[in-house]
């Protein structure tokens, strides 16, 4: 008996995984079972320290893990079975890869002896996930399991975060590990040393400061990296110290308070025109943690500052620097560490040296841009009898608590939300920015609510997107997860329809979600009834005046509530940049192609221009 007590219990593969997850505090798992992952599900069955959320599709499990990770800043974990279970996960992995979310995903695999034999539910996931993960592993020996899981978590959540995928053959899950120390204390990855800060960065930062302070129109562009590295306080401090305007990408909403006097809002195709104008007029652009995606740059030859601005780029991923936009001053560093150092250097400057070269027109312009910054309250119905999406944003903005989390699907509703809603705190806006995955929102909202149970979570969806993963209504019912679902139903795939209207001569190919049968216009489903099928309550709103009340009702509800908004069919997200066009061109609210100088006065560039310059308001479009 004594001997038996002394002996350490031999751990099986699944016990090792559970132990690693518990020791690292990652005990919320989003998943879907199946043959090859059964041993792991069996391992966690009845363990009240592990919270397993059963989703209704593997893709949702991945998105929910991302919603969880984005809302909490922690690692998101999801698991599926082999073959179709794992291939269903790929979209979610790709989405997390683009948006640099820390995800640990693992799936079952057929027994090692069967790998390569085209066994039942076998798929090559190492090959399939290669292009959409930061790293991946196939575990072929149970003795590697503890190390692989520790490494995977480390890789997923450090440097530029991203998804890491582990392929777990069933026999490895069941095997017993003979090692004395199945989970190594330390990991040693020779090929992985993310450069978060170096001495060279400090020198580069002092050069950057000189460039910014000598600029006439300096602009800070904050990207998702600012949110990921939790550098929001440092960013706000920098804006205050230097008094320069901050524009943000869609992934960086909330990193600076939208009510901050220098926060101009989102840039890009559907961003704020004032933000695009600021970048278009800038002579120095300080970009922090962004990828310069085509949706924010437009024509690269004329970006930024019409192709004449100097670019300082801070990013933890060296491969992002100079990839799309030529960079004058690269700084490979974590955003938080770099901004902390930059602020320290500014405070160390004495007296007049702190003054920027920039001129008062810049401030006057920014001040004017921040006036009347509210959301239009469009109380009337549109010409086709629908509610304007702006009205939904207006009412939501009124009812929203600053700590509430907004999650969106992908499409027009996403752009309306990003354009109009005000965010005051980081990690309160969750959206699929890079990959643009329809179907991301609902499961991500579930993940966000699980991460932040005390925050109200609002899902803004379109009728197209919500149908990609609407089955998750079963998940919210079963696990008692409350999401306020706002479905903007315009009967169209609105964003594509908008492009067809503007660029394809109004040929609405494949975008009309309704149909005419026997001379009658029909549209299915009825989303409130769909919710009823899952045991959820909801309300259909057709009168803009009743919208506020419906939102109140949803907020007061204890469980998931569905608000279906009969949305104006032909409403477009305007103004917008023409695809591939420069930042100083736009389609105005009427859908006409214009120059930005029809709305904003070109700012003086030289000293002589400055002397003669008179500030004339040119009917700004914000």
């Amino acid at each position: 008996m004594k001997d038996q007590k002394k002996k350490k219990p031999i751990l099986t593969g699944t016990a090792i995984i559970k132990k690693v997850l518990k020791e690292s505090g990652n005990t919320t798992l989003f998943g879907y079972p199946g043959g090859a992952i059964m041993p792991f599900f069996d391992e966690i069955f009845g363990d009240n320290k592990i919270k397993q959320i059963l989703m209704r599709h593997e893709q949702s499990a991945g998105h929910a893990a991302e919603g969880y990770a984005t809302a909490s800043g922690k690692l998101g974990v999801c698991m599926t079975t082999s073959g179709p279970g794992a291939t269903n996960l790929i979209t979610a992995l790709a989405n997390a890869f683009y948006d640099s979310a820390p995800i640990l995903a693992f799936s079952g695999q057929v027994n090692t002896s069967l790998i390569g034999n085209d066994a039942f539910q076998e798929a090559d996931l190492i090959g399939a996930t290669m292009a959409v993960t930061k790293h991946n592993y196939l575990v072929k020996d149970v003795r590697d399991l503890g190390r692989v899981f520790k490494e995977a978590m480390h890789i997923a959540s450090t440097g530029r975060p991203g998804p890491v995928f582990i392929d777990l053959p069933k026999d490895i899950q069941l095997a017993e590990c003979s090692l004395k120390e199945p989970i190594p204390e330390k990991i040693n990855l020779v090929g992985y040393n993310p450069n978060v800060y170096s001495k060279a960065a400090s020198r580069q930062i002092s050069h950057a400061l000189k460039m910014v302070m000598n600029a006439r129109y300096p602009v800070i562009l904050a990207g998702g990296g600012v949110s990921i590295s939790n550098a929001y306080q440092q960013l706000t401090e920098l804006a205050n110290l230097l008094k320069i305007p901050v524009v943000n990408t869609i992934k960086a909403k909330g990193v600076i308070d939208d009510y901050h006097p220098y926060a101009l809002g989102a840039i890009g195709m559907h961003g704020r025109q004032r933000s695009n104008f600021a970048v278009s007029e800038a002579d120095v652009l300080l970009a922090i943690g962004c990828r310069f995606s085509d949706r924010i740059t437009g024509d690269l030859d004329k970006y930024p500052g019409q192709g004449n601005a100097k670019v300082i780029h801070i990013d933890v991923d060296a491969a992002e620097i100079g990839k799309n936009v030529p960079v004058d001053l690269p700084i490979v560093a974590d955003a938080k560490l770099a901004l902390t150092e930059m602020n320290r250097q500014i405070r160390a400057l004495k007296g007049k040296k702190k003054e920027l070269k920039t001129n008062s027109w810049w401030y006057r312009w920014i001040k004017e841009m921040k006036e009347n910054d509210g959301i239009p309250n469009m109380v009337e119905k549109g010409p086709e009898g629908g509610i304007y999406p702006e009205k939904v944003m207006y009412e939501l903005d009124r009812i929203m608590n600053p700590r509430d989390i907004i999650v969106t699907e992908v499409g027009q509703h996403q752009m309306y939300a990003a354009h109009y809603l005000k965010f005051r705190h980081p990690r309160t806006f969750i959206t699929s920015g890079g990959l643009g995955t329809m179907g991301f929102g609902f499961p991500a909202a579930i993940g966000a609510k699980v991460a932040k149970p005390r925050s109200e979570v609002w899902l803004i969806a379109g009728d197209g997107s919500i149908q990609m993963n609407s089955h998750e209504m079963a998940t919210v019912k079963q696990h008692d997860i409350k999401v306020n679902m706002i479905i903007l139903n315009n009967g169209y795939l609105g964003m594509v329809r908008q492009w067809q209207e503007l660029f394809h001569e109004k040929r609405y190919a494949g975008t009309d979600l309704g149909f005419v049968r026997n001379g009658k216009q029909e549209y299915w489903p009825d989303f409130v009834k769909l919710g009823e099928a899952y045991g959820l309550k909801g309300r259909k709103v057709t009168d803009p005046r009743k919208l506020g009340k419906a939102l109140q009702e949803s907020k007061a509800s204890k469980e998931t509530f569905i608000i279906e908004v009969a949305t104006e069919k032909g409403s477009n997200v305007l103004p917008m940049l023409p695809p591939g066009g420069a930042l100083n061109t736009l389609y105005n609210r009427e859908g006409e192609k214009k120059s930005i100088y029809d709305y904003y006065r070109r700012l003086p560039r030289t000293d002589s221009e400055l002397k003669e310059f008179k500030f004339v308001r040119v009917n700004p479009i914000k």
Partner: protein, 173 residues
């Protein structure tokens, strides 16, 4: 008509962890970014568990910079370096099997071999297999000259391998 400019090429040398699938990850990175690999050689290195991979790809310095950074991001890649002709020793090996019809053919190939300092590794009444070692350019010119004399039946090339000259090396610290 101006002659089309030759696409610039660069040579990348990697030291990588020797796992199954590493080659796929590296080659996949080139494919994904739309970059054409012209040569790829990989085999074990001086250190157990690590392989040395040497690749030649088409692209200018911007393409190289992006590939360099992307390679560095792969977890299994321990070291990435570029090699230039003036700081590196580069070699390629080719095996060339030619058809021999008569003694004149044989004599012509042997004299070419003398000039190129090639070795004949196999000879039959109807064929000759020649081992050519040198720069890619040397092999190219041998191939084009030998084609003028005889028919090439089969040609196999290793692709370029390279090491730094002198004490510079790509190894683990």
């Amino acid at each position: 008509m101006a002659k089309a400019e030759k696409t610039p090429e660069f040579l990348v040398a990697l030291l990588v962890e020797d796992h199954p699938g590493v080659t796929m990850k590296i080659a996949g990175m080139f494919a994904r970014r739309g970059i054409n690999l012209t040569s790829f050689t990989g085999a074990s290195s001086e250190k157990k568990g690590f392989s040395r991979i040497i690749m030649k790809a088409e692209g200018d310095s911007k393409v190289f910079e992006q590939i360099y950074k992307q390679m560095n991001k792969l977890i299994e890649v321990v070291k990435v370096k570029t090699l230039l002709p003036d700081n590196a020793i580069m070699r390629e090996l080719a095996l060339v099997k030619v058809d021999i019809k008569d003694a004149a053919d044989r004599q012509a190939v042997i004299s070419l071999n003398d000039i190129f300092r090639n070795r004949v590794t196999n000879i039959t009444p109807k064929t000759m297999t020649i081992e050519v070692v040198g720069s890619t350019g040397k092999i190219d010119s041998f191939v084009s000259l030998v084609t003028e004399q005889v028919n090439i039946r089969e040609l196999a090339r290793t692709g370029t391998i390279a090491l730094y000259r002198g004490e510079d090396s790509i190894f683990m610290d």
